[in-house]
């Protein structure tokens, strides 16, 4: 009895410390990283002989000729992309929830989320460029263009193609988050009720469902906003070039061979952080204002809201996004088997598997390290998240659990602003360029997404199953392993797949902490994109997309196999 009691105590004790531990693991490197960005921004960088505090870096930053337009490009593309993605996903759900097209869209979410941003952007760039596939399909026979038209489509100064690229990734993500929120808000009943009161679908949804679910999707929206404001890889491939967005500019300063640029880079990184915080704040204020203004509108009795235009527009836009997505994938596939493919040929003139053959050795190596880092880091993330949530279940919402929103911190602040510090930290600790540091650093970005995707299913699970098990004399540990986890198998595997996809897409963290000794598919793909050789980029981009896709497919199929005779647990 006594032994039993003490072992229980140690389990509880360790479980209790998990939220604190998790936060330490995450906030420590991020804070350390931030600190080592803040100091140089104020002139303290002993290694290049600057030891006195000054504001020179800020003066130089604000005097930099490229800053105003870079800042404008970042802010406008970030806000517009987030706003449009949000409007599109909301209006689509409002107009189409419960229909067959809705089901189809839902089924295709996972593959789109699985594809890393850079792979998608590479495909999209070739699709829409003046010499791209779309132009080729109608040239020269329909257009008379024997040479591509001299118009800026990608890298355009307004950042439109960047916005488009962001939207293709962010709309499905927001859709997924809205769906998750719907599942737990009795949306169907509310909707039915509103409809019986004579409300048309869009108005019914906007008035009776949106106000309830908005607070659940708020954090994901902020994450999207922060991401869009500080994205690097898509901005490099699609964004404006002269000048680029602030994030690219800051990265360029960080990489400038003239080390005195370091202080400007640090100041720039901080400016970016402030911009992200500021924009999120403004967004939050706007939310409040809209909520206040819409109070009377919500109850004014209007029962329709541009029903037909919203239906048509949202479907056409979403279909275009899906078409562009699959077009991008297809065009990458074609390029990977190309030897010659010149404008205006619609298809390659000389096919070849040389790009696959010549890279096969390298591909194996980078795929295996991608797999290892991705699987281990997402596995650890799932374990930590489950431990935090289980702790919350057993102990009620304690202080540790309440502070858990802090794990979103790494998503909200621009990567460059703390990665240099993280790099220094790992070197100090003597673990730079090690698997440990690599996995740790990936965890920083994997964990928030795993947390985001696992929290709702976990919190919603009916605890009476566990109570029944306990009342049968089964220990909490056994109930956890035999009842809780198997019943959550589907969301657990899905979270694992999300984590894996996030890990695969990490470029800067791999670069900074890996000491260049780790080559993953993404670092190789970005390296080779420097060669401009679309054939090889395509090979890497495809594999980069393939691994997460396989992971998602497994996550979706495995429960169906395991539960093939369990109707209640079959997927829809």
């Amino acid at each position: 009895m006594m032994k039993h009691f003490s072992s229980n105590l140690s389990v509880l004790f360790s479980l209790r410390t998990v939220p604190v531990l998790t936060l330490m693991v995450f906030l420590l490197p991020v804070l350390a990283g931030l600190l080592s960005t803040i100091l140089p921004a104020f002139g303290y960088l002993p290694v290049i002989g600057q030891v006195s505090f000054s504001t020179t870096a800020w003066t130089e930053l604000f005097a930099h000729p490229a800053l105003p337009s870079a800042l404008f490009a970042s802010v406008s593309s970030g806000i517009i992309a987030t706003f449009l993605s949000l409007i599109l996903s909301l209006s689509f759900v409002a107009a189409w929830q419960g229909t067959n097209s809705f089901k189809k869209v839902r089924q295709l979410l996972a593959p789109i989320l699985a594809i890393p941003h850079s792979a998608l952007a590479i495909g999209l760039a070739f699709l829409i460029a003046p010499s791209g596939w779309i132009t080729r399909s109608i040239s020269p026979w329909a257009t008379g263009w024997d040479r591509p038209p001299d118009v800026a489509i990608i890298h355009d100064e307004w950042g439109l193609s960047l916005i488009l690229g962001l939207m293709i990734k962010e709309t499905p993500y927001l859709l997924l988050m809205i769906l998750a929120a719907l599942d737990q808000s009795q949306a169907k009943q509310r909707l039915k009720l509103a409809k019986t009161l004579g409300y048309h679908p869009v108005a019914a949804w906007i008035k009776s469902v949106l106000p309830v679910i908005y607070k659940q999707i708020r954090l994901p929206i902020y994450a999207v906003l922060a991401f869009s404001l500080s994205v690097v890889d898509i901005a490099l491939i699609l964004g404006p070039t002269t000048p680029p967005t602030l994030s690219v500019l800051v990265l360029r300063w960080f990489n400038d061979p003239d080390l005195s640029y370091r202080t400007i880079a640090a100041a720039g990184a901080l400016l970016q952080l402030l911009v992200v915080i500021g924009i999120i704040f403004i967004w939050w204020i706007t939310e409040k204002i809209i909520a206040g203004l819409s109070k009377t509108w919500l109850t004014n009795g209007t029962r329709s809201l541009a029903e037909t235009p919203v239906r048509i527009l949202s479907k056409v836009s979403l279909n275009s996004i899906y078409t562009l997505f699959f077009g991008s994938l297809l065009v990458i596939l074609l390029w990977s088997f190309t030897r010659r493919w010149r404008y205006p040929d619609f298809l390659p003139s000389v096919w070849s598997s040389q790009s696959w053959d010549r890279n096969i050795h390298n591909l194996m190596w980078s795929s295996s390290s991608t797999l290892t880092i991705g699987l281990i880091s997402s596995f650890i993330a799932v374990i930590l998240v489950v431990a935090c949530l289980e702790n919350e279940k057993r102990r009620g919402k304690s202080a540790g659990a309440g502070a858990l929103w802090l794990v979103y911190f790494p998503l909200m602040i621009p990567q460059v602003s703390f990665l240099f510090g993280v790099q220094v930290l790992t070197i100090k600790a003597g673990i730079d360029a090690s698997w440990l540091a690599m996995i740790w650093c990936h965890l920083l970005f994997v964990l928030p997404y795993v947390f985001l995707s696992l929290t709702d299913p976990y919190r919603q699970q009916d605890d009476r199953y566990i109570k029944v098990a306990l009342s049968m004399g089964v220990s909490p540990t056994r109930a956890f392993w035999r009842i809780r986890l198997p019943m959550l198998l589907r969301p657990l595997l899905f979270a694992l797949a999300i984590g894996f996809a996030v890990s695969v897409a990490q470029y800067l963290p791999t670069l900074f902490v890996g000491g260049g000794r780790f080559s993953t598919l993404t670092t190789e793909a970005v390296n080779l994109s420097a060669s401009g050789n679309r054939r090889i980029i395509a090979v890497y981009a495809l594999l980069q997309a393939l691994l997460p896709l396989l992971c998602f497919a497994t996550a979706l199929a495995l429960p169906n196999v395991i539960f093939r005779n369990r109707r209640a647990l079959k997927g829809h």
């Binding site: 410390t17 604190v20 906030l27 420590l28 804070l31 350390a32 100091l39 002993p46 290694v47 290049i48 030891v51 000729p65 490229a66 105003p68 337009s69 460029a129 010499s131 040479r147 591509p148 001299d150 800026a152 890298h155 100064e157 490099l236 070039t241 002269t242 000048p243 680029p244 990489n255 400038d256 061979p257 003239d258 080390l259 030897r339 010659r340 010149r342 404008y343 205006p344 890279n359 502070a403 240099f420 510090g421 790099q423 220094v424 930290l425 070197i427 100090k428 730079d432 670069l511 000491g515 260049g516 190789e524 390296n527 080779l528 060669s531 401009g532 050789n533 679309r534 054939r535 090889i536």
Partner: protein, 412 residues
């Protein structure tokens, strides 16, 4: 443990970990390692592993480096690992981060492919090991007499801190199916561009080819080229010397691709533009590149190269060893192998790379000379006698100022 205490201890830990209060000591350069006898160096090199950080953007070059790895394993049992980098500046960053953290041994970089601004930066900040290169046995084959850039890297004295590896010479790649008459100077180039609006562009600085294009125009238009050999002295001198350059660009930009409002982000992006038919002329720093790219299917068979009669900018690229490498001996052995006639001849062959040698053919043995003379340069490669004179790189400070000024004028 409460959240608050945890937080406090976290802050403390961060402070300790970053060791912020301790100024970094400057590392004395390790003279002893460099001046050992060569046989001693070779025996110490055995069994060491060298992490060579080198640009990884070309399949051909990657394969060449893999071949080097095979050869040094056969000869010296050295394990060579190619760390592929996108931008050499990342490597400078990493060594800097290591120095910041006080990691003065067992650094992550053992050998780095480098030149120009990155070299200047590492040299200035004491991040390099050496001098060592002049003690390498194969160094006496290097054509230091006629190839001035092997001893002066962008006007910065090499001082034995990097070993010459290959020669670069600015040239233009064009599609002969679309361009009939190639221009012969910067001035002619402007005339051509005006006649063919929208058919040329250059990558926006700080891309190295974009910057080199600006330097080429600068060297051609400046009144007294000697002023470029020294650091920019003052604002008036700079404005005066670059006036003609800006004048030239003001005329050129309106007739560029996208009307000069948009520039390709990198030289590789521009290479793709050439192949997509969006532009007709591309820039290169390697006279053999066009031939290699035709072979690999990346460019059309109709592609050729041209240079200017009065010469184009040329430089040398090198390998250097960071101060905190733990495999300095093996890194030196590899640097020496890279300068060997065997490695240099293979490098000159467009089948493997197509990069001009740093060696003086006259200094080689008759057998080695024969190997070099047998190399087929490829359809698009100009023979050495047609490459024209080499114009020297200006001091890095010029480029720094020009890049800034370029941004102010055209970058918004």
């Amino acid at each position: 443990m409460g959240i608050k205490q945890t937080f406090t201890s976290a802050i403390l830990f961060i402070g300790l970990a970053l060791n912020l209060a301790t100024p970094q000591s400057v590392i004395a350069q390790d003279q002893n390692t460099a001046s050992q006898s060569w046989s001693k160096i070779e025996s110490k090199a055995q069994g060491q592993t060298v992490y060579w950080n080198a640009w990884g953007g070309s399949e051909l070059i990657n394969e060449y480096i893999a071949w080097v790895g095979k050869r040094v394993w056969e000869d010296n049992q050295i394990t060579l690992k190619h760390v592929k980098v996108t931008d050499t500046a990342d490597v400078v960053s990493r060594v800097l981060a290591e120095k910041t953290a006080g990691k003065n041994a067992e650094g992550s970089v053992d050998l780095v492919w480098i030149n120009g601004e990155n070299f200047a930066s590492m040299k200035k900040n004491g991040l390099l090991f050496g001098p060592f290169s002049e003690n390498l046995p194969n160094y006496h084959f290097v054509d230091i007499e006629n190839k001035a850039t092997t001893t002066t890297d962008f006007t910065i004295p090499v001082d034995g801190l990097e070993a010459p590896w290959g020669m670069a010479k600015f040239n233009f790649i064009y599609d002969s199916a679309r361009v009939e008459q190639t221009p012969n100077s910067g001035a002619e180039f402007l005339t051509w561009a005006k006649k063919n609006p929208g058919r040329f562009t250059y990558p926006s600085p700080p891309d190295y080819l974009g910057s080199t294009f600006l330097k080429q125009v600068l060297v051609e238009t400046v009144d007294d080229p000697k002023i470029l050999r020294k650091e920019v002295s003052d604002e008036t001198a700079f404005n005066q010397s670059t006036l003609a350059l800006w004048n030239y660009l003001d005329q050129l930009h309106p007739v560029l691709w996208r009307g000069g409002r948009q520039f390709p982000a990198s030289s590789s992006a521009q290479q793709q533009l050439l192949d997509d038919g969006e532009v007709d002329i591309h820039l290169s720093f390697n006279p053999g590149a066009a031939s290699s790219l035709i072979k690999s299917g990346e460019l059309a068979p109709s592609v050729r190269t041209f240079v200017f009669d009065k010469g184009t900018i040329g430089n040398t690229h090198f390998v250097a060893i960071p101060y905190n490498s733990s495999s300095k001996e093996a890194a030196m052995v590899i640097a020496n192998f890279l300068m060997s006639p065997e490695a240099q001849a293979r490098k000159q062959d467009p089948q493997y790379w197509g990069d001009d040698t740093v060696l003086s053919i006259a200094k080689l043995s008759p057998e080695d000379q024969k190997v070099f003379s047998k190399i087929e340069l490829g359809v698009a490669t100009l023979p050495p006698q047609d490459l024209g004179p080499t114009l020297l790189e200006p001091h890095p400070s010029w480029m720094e100022r020009i890049e800034k000024e370029w941004l102010t004028r055209y970058g918004q």
